[in-house]
């Protein structure tokens, strides 16, 4: 009898112990993160919920491989042995551009970018390479030698702007070729390629039934499904005022949507005490003014990328009208004075942590 009592007590203790300890044991999926610096000249972060690290490594590895393929095709800065990409499309041979046979993914992306030129009334213009490369060179030089930092001469910019006609980009879908008819025109897809690539990769994951992932390429964020328990992702919109103690100005709940922020607070250089950021208005040829950041929430991450850049270069009224005219697209504008403006549907994503 004494033995039975002892066993009972031991069992009781076991139950008590397990009921206290088990909930803290993680039998569910855990969160994993992978970083890379190899794509689109920016930082890539893959976040995913998986049952173990090996599964996450396999899926995140697949995502990174896919991103690398798009990077190789869309980059204007690097050449790769044996493939035609936008870098080789931009090159001149005997003073003119070649007619280049390219991968269908390049054709599709360029057609999309041309369509967005129309939608944004020319604010998203991938034929602006000549102007953007001048700013790129002056910014890089100014960051390397801050005391020598200079602004590009206006003459230089206006001359380059003569060669930014989107119609100089000739796309032959049937033969899968691309040709730039003006030798002084070059492509810069920096405002659309990342988002487009992220969207394509996200769709491949969705087609495979994968969920519980977030792809973030340089602030171009796309959620794939929800967290494993069906809970939505909590996204913080970064405070463009980096001096502030408030890290986020807004919180959003996302389940399969994308959020992309274009801001003047990250990539810039300083000339005579004034900051010049990297988003160049196609009309003024100068860094766009009026906002600290513009965030776009929508399903398609390519739209998010293209629209956030375009909205940054538009007066608020015009930008708001554009957003309201597009199905499933919402935006948050943070004005130069720090005040916030929202599109009508933005509220449905807003939350508090």
């Amino acid at each position: 009898m004494k033995k039975r009592q002892l066993i009972s007590i031991l069992l009781l203790t076991c139950i008590l112990c397990s009921s206290l300890i088990l909930p803290s044991c993680n039998t569910q999926k855990s969160k994993y993160v992978a970083h890379s610096f190899d794509y689109f000249d920016t930082a890539t972060t893959i976040t995913g919920y998986e049952k173990d690290k090996a599964t996450f490594d396999r899926t995140s590895g697949e995502i990174l491989d896919l991103l690398f393929e798009y990077h190789r095709l869309f980059t204007i800065y690097h050449r790769f042995e044996g493939i035609e990409n936008l870098c080789t499309v931009n090159e001149l041979k005997y003073g003119v551009h070649r007619v280049v046979t390219v991968d269908n993914r390049i054709i599709e992306m360029l057609l999309y970018a041309k369509e967005m030129y129309r939608v944004t009334d020319g604010k998203l213009n991938i034929a602006m390479g000549s102007v953007l490369s001048i700013w790129h060179d002056y910014r890089t030089a100014g960051l390397d030698e801050p005391l020598e930092a200079k602004l590009p001469p206006v003459d230089m910019l206006t001359e380059a702007a003569e060669h930014t006609n989107i119609d100089a980009l000739v796309i032959d879908e049937e033969n899968s070729t691309v040709w730039i008819s003006d030798p002084k025109t070059t492509l810069d897809v920096g405002a659309v390629a990342k988002g487009y690539a992220v969207e394509m990769v996200a769709r491949e994951l969705e087609a495979k039934g994968i969920s519980g992932y977030v792809i973030n390429v340089g602030g171009n964020v796309r959620t794939v499904g929800t967290k494993p328990n069906g809970e939505k992702w909590l996204a913080g919109i970064e405070n463009p005022n980096t001096e502030s103690d408030e890290a986020y100005v807004e919180y959003l709940q996302l389940a399969g949507e994308s959020v992309v922020t274009s801001g003047s607070y990250q990539r810039y250089y300083t000339v005579d005490g004034k900051n010049y950021h990297h988003i160049i208005d196609p009309q003024t040829l100068l860094p766009a003014e009026g906002y600290l950041s513009v965030s776009v929430v929508c399903k398609n991450s390519a739209d998010g990328d293209a629209l956030s850049t375009a909205l940054f270069c538009m007066p608020f009224d015009k930008g708001l009208a554009l957003v309201e005219s597009l199905e499933g697209v919402d935006a948050l504008w943070i004005m130069s004075d720090g005040s916030k403006r929202y599109s009508s549907g933005f509220e449905k994503y807003a939350t508090t942590p």
């Binding site: 203790t13 008590l16 909590l234 996204a235 913080g236 919180y251 996302l254």
Partner: protein, 137 residues
Amino acid sequence: MRMNKEASTEARALDATKKVKNDIILISALLLLVLIAALALFLFRVTGDTVTVGVDGKLFGEYSLSEDRVVEIKNGNGYNILVIEDGKAYVREASCPDGICSSHRPIGHSGESIICLPNKVVVEVHTQSQSTPDIIA
């Protein structure tokens, strides 16, 4: 609960009050032990907040956020000076030209990160708190 009842019924049947008393002491002691263990676990988790430093995709180091220190992160010719202070981490100084990392506000919430693109450095906070964003855009 069922076990408890069963145990006490057995004890009453025996009618040995002394034994029952001992059992109660034993159960209480075990309960107390479990509670202390749970409390220790809980406390350990709260102080388990760390910051990890990754260089070019590889783990460079992991440091407790509750311990002030300065870490020099070296990658080739580049460097970033990471400071951990009052439960937060920030980059005080770096070799990169753009200075995005060193102008970043101190981070201390789970999932927050400071990324230095030129030096391929990722500084990331890992805490148990739940109410911080999964994504920063």
